[in-house]
Symmetry: D2
Subunit: 362 residues, 4 copies
């Protein structure tokens, strides 16, 4: 069964992941993985650190001459910033870093300190950092290359940035591909409004949320299964997307709007003709029915919250028990465009996992 | 590690589940499990079958004298309707049932037939049926009893039924408990409107969706973890909720609304006083930060779709390849109140799983 | 991924298992499962209880008209003895049974009581009982039917009973099939000696151990894998066999003898001819190399201990802290012939699990 | 739940492992990990490669200032030999290496080629190599440090090398510690005979097997469980030990000898006195009963086969289908002393996994 482990602190020596369960004989294009990492780093709204890191993947195992061996595949991303943090973050030399004793209330800091018994929030925030999504992007980049062999294509776009919404995109790979050529929208004035919003957020030190849309095309029918709760693809995808930091909502199609519509919703039909065989007409299922792909475009949306680092919160200095202002770790103005790219990767992984399950029939 | 398997076809002899990993020495109240099953069956909007089934649990293992043994706990719910279906559904005698060859487009039917190579949609729909949620309700009822030993309380309510929305409820157990005494709302006229909507749907043969809200109180801080993607409680909960049939969206707090708000969202603070120690002020986190509980009320919302069985779809008779009208299996008018109860159960399970993980510190 | 859960106390209402992950469309012969249960119950050396139980399986899910649905398959074996134990063992009524306070030192009793905090060893021994192997036999009987579709055959025999050893059997399905027609050996005098040994053990109230040999034929090449420690078939099989109660040793081929031989062991060769293609000559690998099947006969041996119930041990009455004689639960004189049958089943499961893994190559 | 993934080809850039699920706050001594790697490399009987590699671990995550963070712990061992193999083994540059087309019959080579569809056995042997046990040694070294906090000590010794057997060792940590100071035996003449045997094997190019004994002391009672087959510690340990390359047999205590003894085996007793409380007298259980630790010394034995690389086998050149002599990869004369060290590590991991399971009682 396909699985992975990721590892690495945000300012530690490196990020590392191991993927176990890949079939043998797959050509993997390493520069294409790096290209996904670059997309993630150059997404609008990123903060200063992105000028320091230029993530590239070093493959350490599982690949020979660019082809998978069937053995575990390791990817490593060195943290270039580590040299500046070695005193504080060295794995086994005593830390010379100052303790972070003022947990940020919108983050993992405080529950993490309580859970693990730390008096230094750095012990939490280093791993809770969204930097881990670089690895998930890399893992998804591998998954996507495998899916592409089956014709599957995955795209994303930002569909709302705060109160701004962007023109809808037709459910075709071509339309999404065109949309992806622009950071927000093919519509010039919408795109400009988004960039102005980000600039204004950066100037005033506030963050903005938004909605991302992810779409997958040319999927085989029947990925996932209804036979057991944990094999339903809807649940797996939702779980994976919601585990992306800053994602706080997931819907299949426009589920929340549909839930609040008058009775009698739109419905798909099945039709037959000799040329196409049996096919769905319409996509009210948004590509998922009964926990399985229908073969129609799969469309998902994630609600992304404004980044809590920039929120106007107060905290307590745990060393003194006095009120304090949370330390501001370097941060982005908005995670929305970044999450879009990570969400593509996460979806690719969930789909590949379903694709590589054991046989449905002997 | 806590885990379960469920089994059972909708019109087969029985539904069965096994829970593995429960601690020993826990008092389990079996009638209280049945009470949850009854709540599920009597939820507004249910169809005819509920007059046939009166689900009760038979515990077959794992319990002795009402106390867990630490061994696998089996619960069985007999399908009373099986006597009427034995000819078609007997496990090993040849089936005398007529094949269902007209898959319903909004269901698992067609992708299931393709995936598993069936020419009879009954082979799919029997297991894809939401009847499986009776087991998940029973499993959750067990989990909830264990959580209650730690003071944890879980409630739900319908917050919207189609275009009707119901008054918000304060984030306290008392307020939710009061709200749960009414099928939809303490507000008489809202409740009446909901019942009228359901009656009208039943009369016209259409279905309506809605939104359910689930809330958990008195949670310990630090359930779940940020250390690995698959251990984040947000992802696990979302995955579990989305795997409930008819659920198509999940959000933590009001995530989609927040995502589309102006920059600069509300934020929690941490405060200290000698009496309460360190505590959160506010609940912008909706009880979850960094993939962990904050100890504040955990508030989740699910978008529930109108039931596709009642949708105006066409299909293909796979035996003749001619256009056909999908067979209508007996069905509910709306799944929303039922999903609310199942969602409580599913959440209870996810929380218990997190509670029973290995030690965070030796 | 193929998996199962088993449940049930030895004197509780029933034994139940759920298998998840079976492909759809497989014909399952339920009487053939019962036949395996009967073989297990009628194995030489069994005790009194076997006159009470006549195990038969009731399939409650996952099968329709004798064909797998791809959904979880449930098998239930009612404990006929439960009527005599209901007062003590009822799942939720208060137990009227007398506590077992004198743990048997060779069993799970005492460590189980300490681990789970019990003052009644019955809470342990009911689940720790080898009665659970009835379920594993049933599960293996299903696995074996699936394997047989691929031509795989599994046999076992007792190769030693205490100091008696039985004539070796050629590594062919025919030879094993012939050997299986006799409880111990085709050699009349050896067989008679074994039966006399059992009779003498029964008369004197002692137990005897032995060695069982399990062999699988017509295996495809490449089941299992070297790519990760937990995917090696040797480890999986050894783990499964060693988890059979009374099994205390496992070897592939004659590993312990080989380990203590002069340097320079026998070796297989690979050869090619046009008719057979590439094939192994010899079976020094005993069918397993690099954690994978070689396609040659797979030969395993298990060391089975004498049953500790009949051992001359003293214990402590935990209620009084005084020395005591352990209570003798009804028991068999020797587990060896029974273990042989359970081991076949356990091996079948391990092989099927490997067979149903995801694709090695897309 | 504690888990790990390992990765790395034998002549690839590096070996890497990630451990997930370690508690926070544990002091880890990195040089002590390296010391275990050195023990493994300097074990008698190793081949030439050990002069090239000097394995040391680089910790890349999960540790800060020498203390676990609760996050995934990564260890990397660079393959110094990689510089000599880069042309052949580079992960993504086209390989300039010559294909290995003559699979060695006693290894993973041929079944691996068939399973994964390779025409170059190097694609198999690089990962199937026992070099992976360096990582398992490192993982076990971490586990052992954690266990030591609870007082648990693990030792091993070679108890037989081919036909040579070495004096038994008392079941005490002190006796094992003394024995471990010698490569084979405290008995001078036995030790010398062993070294002469190895020298003679090396001279004549043959390999010898043997038996290793692993013992763990000061274990808590009740690690593992009887409640489900896959939670039995006997099964888990056997599975883990058997997955060490070259291990072909595993027994608890002297199981095979006991199985072939006269009826009526030795038995442990339980006794009580005010000073020690309740305790076992004797260790016929060899530390394991009912799938759980008894708290008595845990004693295991593994049968290790002669290394097949040095076996007199013929093979087929798959490129030409002509008979051929298998290529001899650099190899050891005997794996026995090395396996002893790896087995300690593997046992440490299995014990730690059991120790870190969820609570048996709330």
């Amino acid at each position: 069964m396909l699985k992975f482990l990721t590892a690495g602190e945000s300012h530690g020596p490196a990020l590392i992941c191991i993927i176990e369960g890949l079939p043998a004989g797959l050509k993997i294009d390493v520069p294409a993985i790096d290209a996904e990492l670059a997309r993630r780093q150059k997404a609008p709204g990123r903060g200063e650190r992105m000028r320091i890191e230029q993530d590239t993947v070093t493959v350490l195992s599982g690949l020979r001459g660019g082809v998978t061996l069937g053995s575990p595949l390791t990817m490593q991303i060195l943290n270039r910033d580590y040299v500046n943090w070695e005193g504080s973050m060295h794995p086994h030399r005593p830390s010379t870093g100052q303790k972070v004793t003022c947990p940020r209330p919108g983050h993992a800091d405080y529950p993490g300190m309580v859970k693990y018994g730390f008096d230094d929030a750095r012990n939490v925030l280093e791993r809770a950092s969204a930097r881990e999504t670089a690895l998930r992007t890399a893992i998804g980049a591998v998954a996507r290359q495998v899916l592409r062999l089956k014709g599957v294509e995955i795209y994303s776009r930002v569909s709302a940035l705060g109160q701004l919404t962007f023109d809808a995109v037709a459910e075709t790979p071509e339309a999404y591909q065109r949309a992806q050529a622009h950071p927000f929208s093919e519509n010039e004035s919408q795109s400009q409004a988004a960039e102005e919003l980000i600039a204004s957020c950066r100037a005033t030190g506030v963050s903005v949320g938004g909605v991302v849309e992810i779409a997958a095309f040319n999927l085989p029918i029947g990925l996932g299964s209804y036979v057991h709760a944990d094999r339903r693809l809807d649940g797996r995808i939702a779980g994976a997307l919601m585990s992306i930091p800053a994602v706080r909502g997931v819907e299949i199609g426009e589920a929340f709007a549909l839930a609040q519509s008058p009775p009698g919703a739109p419905a798909d039909s099945l039709r037959y003709d000799t040329e196409r065989g049996i096919y769905y007409v319409g996509n009210a299922n948004a590509g998922l029915a009964g926990g399985m792909t229908t073969g129609q475009p799969l469309v998902l949306r994630c609600a992304v919250k404004p980044l809590p680092t920039l929120a106007p919160a107060m905290t307590v200095d745990l060393a003194t028990l006095l009120p304090a202002t949370p330390v501001r770790e370097r941060s982005d103005v908005t995670a929305v465009p970044t999450v879009a790219i990570v969400a593509e990767a996460v979806l690719a992984w969930a789909l590949l996992t379903a694709l590589l399950e054991g046989p449905a029939r002997l």
